[in-house]
Amino acid sequence: MIKSHPHEQLLVQYATGELNPAMLVMIGTHVDMCPQCQQHVADIEEQIALKVLGERVTDAALPNTVVDSMLESIMNSPAPIQVRAEAARDYISLEGKRFALPATLARNEHRIGQWHHMVSKLWRAPVDIGNGEMLNLIYMADGAQVPEHTHKGREATLVINGVFNDEFNEYRDGDFILLDEHHKHTPQTQGEDCLTLATLDAPMHFTAGISRLLNPFSSLFFR
C-alpha cells in the first residue's frame, strides 16, 4: 500500500508536461506504480481538456479556406511511423538480482548506464535523460546506510523495489518522497535491500560526524 504520494500540484504539472525531465520521469514512474495517482492524473487531464478544448472560441480564427486546405493535406498525408508500445527490456540486474522496471523506466531502459559501486553497500546507475540533468537509480544492499545529510536543493526519491527507512518513516514500493534543505535525514536499510530512483537539484551536504569528510566528494552521490 503506497502511503507517500506526490503533491497534487506535481501531478498537474506532470499532466501538462511542465516539469523538468528528471521530475517527469520520477512522477511518471510513481504513477505507473500507483493506481490512485493514475486515476488522479486521468481526472486532471479530463479537467484540463475541458478547460482548454471545452471553451468557446469567439473569433473565427480559422478562415474556411485555411480549414479546407488543412483538411485536404491531413487526409492525404501518409500515416506516421508507428510508435511501438513494448519496451526493449523491462528489468535490470544488479548483484545477481533482477528488478522489474515500471513502464516509464522500461521505455527508457536504454538510458540507464552502468552500475557503479559508491561506498560500502551503495550502488548507483545514472539515467541519462539529456539536458545535463541528474537522475539516478540507487541500490542499497541490506544493512546499508547513507550518512546523515541535508540537500542544497530538492531531493526526490521513489522506491522501485524493497524498503528503506529514515528518522521519519518507512518507505516501500511506490512511495514518493520529496525533501529540501530543511530536512536532515539518514536513509538506511534493515533486513531488506532497496532499489530507488532519485533526483537531486544540488549536491548533498553531510552533517554528522566523520561523514562530514565526505562533503568534498559529495558529487559522487550527486552525479
Binding site: 499532466a15 501538462t16 508536461g17 525531465p21 517527469l24 520521469v25 511518471g28 486521468a42 487531464e45 479530463e46 484540463i48 481538456a49 475541458l50 482548454v52 478544448l53 471545452g54 471553451e55 468557446r56 472560441v57 473565427a60 480564427a61 480559422l62 474556411n64 480549414v67 488543412m70 483538411l71 493535406s73 491531413i74 487526409m75 498525408s77 500515416a79 506516421p80 508507428q82 510508435v83 511501438r84 508500445a85 513494448e86 523491462d90 540486474s93 544488479l94 548483484e95 545477481g96 513502464a103 516509464t104 521505455r107 527508457n108 552502468q114 552500475w115 541519462d128 535523460i129 539529456g130 539536458n131
Partner: protein, 206 residues
Amino acid sequence: MQSVIESPTKRKPMSSAQPDSAEYAAELLSRIAASRSRQAFAELFKHFAPKLQAYATRQFGNEQTAMDLVQETMTNVWHKAHLFKPDRGSAATWIFTIARNIRFDFLRKNKHRQYDLSADDLWPVLAETNESLDDDYALDDDLLLQQLAVYCESLPIAQKEVVELIYIEGKSQQEVADALEIPLGTVKSRTRLALQKLKELIKTDD
C-alpha cells in the same frame, strides 16, 4: 450553438448531435477509425481545431507554431483514431493529451536536443498497444533465460564466470578483465568459446 462549428450545408437533425457532446465526439472518432470517414473527421476538425489553435497561441505566442501544432495534432487524430479508448476518457481528453505531447516535443526541438526525453518516452498516448502480446513475450523470455541458465552450468568454470559477468551483470569486456585481473584478449576468447559451446548445446537439444 457555436457559429464556428456550424455546418455550412445542413444542420444535424438532433440538437445534441454536435462534437460538443462527449458521446458524439467519441462516435465521430470511432467512425474515423472504422471507415476513415472524411465527413466525420471534417466535423471533428471544425470543432476542435479553433480551440486547439487558441490554446497553442497562448502557449507559444506565435501564430505559425500554433498552426503547426493544430496540424500535427489533428494529423495524429486522423491516423490514430483507432487508439482512442472511450472507456479511458473523453474524446476531448484524448485530443488534449496528443496536443500536450506535440507541444512538449516542439519545445524540445526548439532547443536542438535530440537525445532529450521525447513525449513518447513519457506519455505513450500514441503507442500501438499490444498488451497480451507483451505478456507472451515476457513468458518466453523467462523460459529462455531459465533454459540458458541450465546450459551455462555445463560450461567450464572460467567461461561461465565471464558469461555471467557480461550477460547477467551487464559489465563490459574491459570491466570483466579489470575485475578478474586477466587480459582483455582472454576475456574475449573465453566469451567466444562460451557462446560457441552454448550454441552447440542448444542445437543438439533441439
